[in-house]
Each structure stands twice: as structure tokens, then as C-alpha cells.
Amino acid sequence: MKDLFSKFTSLSEKDLVKIDAAYGWSLNAAELKQAQRYFRKIKREPARGELESIAQTWSEHCKHKTFSGPVRFSRRGKVKKYKNLFKETIVKATRELDKPWCLSVFTDNAGIVEFGADRKWGLAFKAETHNHPCAVEPYGGAETGVGGVIRDILGVGLGAKPVLNTDNFCFGRLDSKMKLPKNALGAERVFRGVVEGVRDYGNRIGIPTASGGIYFDDGYLLNPLVYVGCVGLIPADKIEKKVRPGDLILSIGGRTGRDGIHGATFSSANIDEETSASAVQIGHAVNEKKVLDVLMRARDLGLYDALTDCGAGGFSSAIGELASGTGAHVRLENAALKDTKIEPWEIWVSESQERMILAVPPKKLAALEDILNSENCEYCVLGEFTSNNRLLVTFNSEVVVDLTMDFLHEGVPSFEKPAVFSAPRVSGRAPRKNKKTCLQVLKELLAHPNICSRHSVITQYDHEVQGGTVIKPLQGKSGDGPGDATVIWPHSATGNIGDFSGFAVTHGFNPAAGRLDPYQMTLWSVDEAVRNLLCSGAEISRTALLDNFCAASPKDPQVMGGLVLAAEGCYDAAIGYGAPFISGKDSFYNQSKDAAGKDYPIPLSLLISAIAPVEDIRRAITMNFKEAGDPVYLAGLNQKGMGGSVYGELYDCGNNRMGPVNIKAAVKLYNALLKAIKKGHVRAAHDVSQGGLAVTLAEMAFSGGLGAKLDLGAAAAEKGLSDTELLFGESPSRLVLEVAKGAEAEFVKLVKGLPVGKIGSVDDGRSLSVKTGRRPLFSEDVNALKACWKRELL
């Protein structure tokens, strides 16, 4: 292969593809030809480090070529063209909304929104995926995923202090009987490894892991999804950063080794038996904690001009990105190494963990070194930023890379991707009669892996460290009920215990809905996220969103079609809810060969993460019933349809219609409810989502250790709604509220004219009894319901 490499500029397309496969770059033929043209133009053969740099910089992971490229979407005889799908949907919504409280969007490592009563702080939020590494080595993959997203927050602006980690996972069913290919790990193995990895990294570094979810579906058997997120606090005057020519390039934190080579390009490849162990690694949380401590001290003393994290692509990506407006000369012989048996190009692209790159004015180096030494944090000066717009990387006298910044960052060719979408047939007929009683169905739903307690996972995480977790992931009388949103009071970062400003974080996710209608899936997910925030008492008019798309190969037009519809849903939802997207990420090629050698893709998966301020954390509310005698209200219209529901997965009901989201009506309803919550009229609120209304009511009752007598006859409902749809349908924009009995009249005034109906009251019995009119639906002891729900996943 070395022979071929030395003749790169004269290789045929076939040989280019061969060499790409041998070196693991994951570049396509057009990209390889573009690189070939560049080196022909400058009349020399490339060095290995140069093609490695190009592969990293142009990778899907770093460049997001699918989302930011042109798309031709054909549907029902009509064609819509996008020059840049991302900018014309998600970014467009943010630009049009133009919220003054958005301080930094889509430009840095994370989005930043204004925070705090004195507006002196920014709240940085980022989520990303680490799917491919977790499929190969779940523990190490999850650890380094958490470490990476924390570094994103450390590297936003001049550095934010992490105050919350989030985690959302998708795994194959633990009881799956599907035969796995030889190289695949079983679902339980992946599940355990990922949870342990997130636990060990988060707990050791001292950041609470307190918000997330777990979703099981056999579509994720070969390609699990691991979304990890982080929230941090940054002083508003530390958001701007700018590299200046002459600044030193300082690498701090971990040493560089041969681990993690080709992580960025690996994420654009299918996982197979040839997957190399070097693409995964184990994280070192204590090293990252040292970096964190150094940065917080050095930032406040103004000891550096800019920084970013070493993530995918290592030095190549981090230094290349920081130097994109200047230029840089990197001397790799100065790098602190784990071992000496490493080639210069490997130093350049190694993704060894826990490293950050700083741009340091030479006169401030000594002061920074004092802090680094006092925190026992390793560092090395790698070179300096220049003003010649060139990336020059040397190892002693050897030139490893000598490229223009323009070519490296703007040279990647773009291609129009075809997109189509054929929707499955939708049936809206009344659900078939179920032989099981409503109570039997409810108990099966409560025990379903996508609904049952996550206690055995959540309690492995330290969700209390830093002392600011006000509303915890597990809630209720015994601290074991399923919360809608987590509320954090970040006083450990602001140092101001007189300011009770906090923030709520939550998520919306429903790939089952995406199989039917990716557009409605997106609206459902955003609606669920906003509703969850509302249920904690957060200021939903200041909701900021993150989009994290995961999909199979974008070379499949049907996959691209789903993506287009979901992106259009993002635009409509953001505009409708007044909730801008502030950051996002995508992960493609989540598909593998099954045991029979057939492609096995994941379903289109869009995680919506949402964050909103809570004006006074002392007034935040939880989901469990609180007091006997309090009236219970159901808000929102109960629509027909069982599409996207857990019931629909368990029983063949012959109905897969999804109730569409009426955003305008939802916003009107939520605003009125928020007023009531802020006035203290609402004691508990819980959204209706997976499992439907019956599950929501059961969860509120058993989490509060209280019973209730409820009549759903007064609930706002579509005409002809069946009992199955009412109890187990998952139509959007609904929530159940416990209203303080002394404030009922006030509450009713606030929701007048809205689809809000009284359905009964909490009592101090131990039974949850539900009927509609005179027809009893089910009645059961709340402890018996809880016993069904509280099965252990691990």
C-alpha cells in the first residue's frame, strides 16, 4: 500500500478507493479526487499526515456533510431542494426567532443562553452521541463520551463550569431472541457497560448525572445509541474568544498515545469484524478533573485568549479549528507522549482523551504554568499560532503537514443527496377489542421496559454532588417516582446563595412515532419536552432546544427523506413554541450487518433536549399526588389514535393513527397552566406520554402513596374516542394536574375556555379507581400498581 501512497496524485479512482479502505479514512471517491487535485495543483505528493488531517477535517463527524449539504426531496410528485438542510430548517428557526437571551448559538462547542437574576451568567448546553465506540466497547465508549461532552462545555467560550450531566440511551430489548453476528455484544452486556461507564466518569469527576432516559427497541440491537450531555455555567463576559497570532499552542491534560486513532473517521463507517481496538479507549476522569480545576482558575485570571477541546481528530481537529482564522506552526516533538513507539502523523490525529488546547499569550505562560503545576496537570507547548493562514506541522526537521487553511476547511466537495419518503399505511379505525381487562393491560404497560422504573440505573449515578439538585430524577413520597424534568440550582458555580434562579432540563424522544411519521415525531418530541419543563414549573417561554439526530446510512434516500421531514418538524416546532435550537449534533451510519449478512439499520432517532430557567427553585413542583382532597384535572384534548404507543407495540389493535400536535392550542394551554403553577395553585403535574393516561395516573398515585377516585367522563375528548384510546393512547399535549383545593376557583378562572376538565380528587385511601361516566374502567391498590412498575432492569 505504501507504493500506492507514494503515487497518490496519479492514482486511478479504483486505487484511491483501495487506499482509503486500507488507511481507514472513510472519504468517498469525490473527496479523494478533490484531495488529489489539490496536490496536483501544488505539484507534490502528500505526506501521510496531510491526508490524515484532510480525512479528519472532512469526516462526517467533524463536518456534518449530510446535514449541511444539498438535498433533493421528492414526495407525492413534488420536489423541494435544499442547499443546506441544516441552515434552511433548524438554524433558520433560531435566526427568525432572534431571542435576545440567546448569547451564542451554533458557533461554539455548545449553545449558550442567558441565566441568573442579575443576567451575569450564561448557561451552556450540549449533547452528543458516542454510538460507534459504545457498540465496540460499551464501558470505555460511554466513559469517553461523557468525558468528551464535558470537555465541550469546558471549551465553550473561555470555559464553562459543568454543573449537570445528562444521559439518554437506546438499546436492543434485553429479552431479544434475535441471533447476533459474531462481533456483536448482547444487549445486556452493552447496557451494563454503558451505565457503568457513565457512572464511573460522572461520579469520579464530581458532576451530577441527573437527567435522561432509556429506550429499548430491537432496532438498536447492533447499534446502541448513547446520547450524553452536559450543562455548564459561564460568566457572560467570558463568552468571546479570539486566537491572536503569536499566541502559544498549549496542550494540557492527558498525554498523547496510539489510542483512539481514527475515531472521527470510524464514526462514518459500519461496525464489522474488522473494527480496530484502537478506535476505542478508556477515559480518565481524574485527569479531566485536573484540567477543569486549572481552567476555572486560569479563565478568571485571563491567562489565555482561546481554547477548545481535543475531541474527534485530536490535535488535527482542535488546532486546525482554533487556527482557522490565523495559521499555526505545530512542533510535534514537543508533545507529551504515553509511549515513544508512535509515528508523527499518529501524534497529530490521536484522540487520546482528557486534552484541551489553549492559545496563550507568551507573557502569561509563567503564571499559567504555576497553576498547572499546583494542580498536578501535565502540559506541553506545541508551537505557536501564526498569521500566514497555513497549517504547518513538523516533527523536528520532518514536515508532517503543510496545507492552506482554506483548502482544509472549505475544500470538501458537497453532493446533492436524493431523499424520498413513503409513509406506511395509516389506519384510524377503532382499536380492536382486547381480551384483557383495562387493569391487566395497565399492569403490563407498567412493567414494560420502556415504562418501568429506572431506579437500578439512576441510583448508580451521583445525582446530588455539588448540592444543587433541587428536583431530582426520582421523586415522590419515597423518592422513587418517575420525574418529568430535573431542576438544578447552580449555586456551586455562581457562588451566590441569595439568587434562587435555577434551570430545568428534560428530553423528548419517540422513535416509534418516527416509524410512522418523522414530522409528527418531531412535533411530539418537542411538545413532550416543553410539557416536561412545564411540569416542573420552568419558564417555558424561554425554552432552548438541542437536536441530536441519529440515523442509518444517508446514502439510502428513504433515510434522508425521514431526516428532511424531521428537520422540517424542528423548524415548525421551534417557531410554534418560540423555542430556538441553540446547538445540535448528528450521527449517521448507525447500521450493521446482521447474522444473515443483511443491513440492519436503526430507526430514525431524534433526541430533543430542552432547557429553561426556573425563576425561583423554591417554587418548582414534582409529579406525585400530595394531599388527600385535592382536585385532579386533565388538561389537553384526548385524541383518537394508537399510533406510536406502547400499547400498539404490545397488542395488534389495528389502529396506528397518530394524533397531530396543534402547537397553537398547546402553547395557549401551557401558558395558562404556567400562570397557575407560578401562583402556587398546582401541587403536582405530570405529562401524559408513554403508556398513556392510565400510566400517568398510576405513577402520580403510587409515587405519592395516595389513592384517587377519578371519572374521565369530563375530560376533553375527540368525538367517538374509545376507552382504549382514552386510557392508553399517547396523543400529545396532555398533562394531569393536582390543584390545591383552596385555590381551585382561581385555577378554574385561569384555564377558562381551555380543554381542561376536572376528573376527580386525591384521597387517602390506597386505591386508584377510574371510571368514565357510569362505566368502571379499573380499580387497584396503588402499591400493587407500583409493584408492577418497579421491576429492576439491571
Binding site: P138, G140, R189, R258, I282, H284
Partner: protein, 148 residues
């Protein structure tokens, strides 16, 4: 030298039950089990020094035992050892290496961390197959199974 640390029997029920349950779910009933942590310290030191590391650095004396020679007393069992490959970063090993230096004023050439599982079960071959599905990952781990 390998220093082996295991939870005292009266505190070990949960970890043993968890391990047995995982094995049972994977299709292998376990009659008795013990679990331990292994620290391979590469240094030409005396047994007294290794004993000091075991007693003062690696063991919580209230809940754990350590040994540089003995094994837990389960008769007729298999011993499974799982280590990270030398090419994989061993974070625990690195941290212990630093701690050893802080304690003795000298650094060992290296420290690697591993785990041992003692299991009384019907078949060593079956145990190996189940272990490869549940506790080890060939991408990063090496494993050995021996009858005691």
C-alpha cells in the same frame, strides 16, 4: 506480584448474588461464587513491601481482605481472571501506580488492574463461553479460566 483483594464474606452477598444472577440469565447456574480485584504490581520488591501495599493502600480493612498468595476457600471451583489488554489504557492501574509512588517513594514499572471470579459450576467450557458473552470484551480484555 499480584495482590488480590476481596470483600469479606459477610459483606459479599450482594456482589456474589449479582454475579450468579448474571450467569444464570446467560444460561449457567452457579452453585457458589466469590469475586475479587487484582492488582499486578511490576516491581522487584520484597514480600514485606507488597504486603504493605495490600494492607495499607489497596484494602479497606473493615470490609475487605487481601492476599498475595492465598485464594478464597471454594472447593472444586473455576477461577476466571479478566485483565485489560496491555494496549488498552488502564486508568485504575495508572492511579494505583501514582499512589504506590506516593506511599513508598518509588514507582513500580507498571500496575495493571483486573478482576477474578471464582465459580463452582458444572462446566468450565460453558463458563468460558458465558464469560465471553457477559463479562469480557475481546476488543479490550484478555481472559483465562482455570480449574482450582
Amino acid at each position: 506480584m499480584i495482590i488480590e483483594v476481596w470483600t469479606k464474606e459477610k459483606y459479599a452477598k450482594n456482589e456474589e448474588a449479582g454475579f450468579a444472577a448474571r450467569m444464570a440469565r446467560a444460561g449457567l447456574p452457579i452453585k457458589a461464587a466469590r469475586l475479587s480485584r487484582l492488582y499486578k504490581v511490576e516491581a522487584p520488591w520484597t514480600r514485606t513491601e507488597f504486603n504493605r501495599l495490600g494492607a495499607e493502600l489497596l484494602t479497606d480493612n473493615i470490609t475487605e481482605h487481601y492476599s498475595i498468595s492465598k485464594r478464597p476457600g471454594i472447593k472444586g471451583c473455576y477461577r476466571v481472571e479478566i485483565w485489560l489488554k496491555n494496549s488498552a489504557t488502564d486508568v485504575v492501574g495508572e492511579s494505583v501506580k501514582e499512589a504506590v509512588h506516593d506511599m513508598l517513594g518509588r514507582s513500580p514499572a507498571g500496575v495493571r488492574f483486573g478482576r477474578a471470579y471464582y465459580a463452582r459450576c458444572a462446566s468450565g467450557e460453558k463458563l468460558r463461553a458465558v464469560i465471553s458473552k457477559t463479562l469480557m470484551n475481546e476488543v479490550v480484555n484478555v481472559c483465562s479460566v482455570n480449574k482450582l
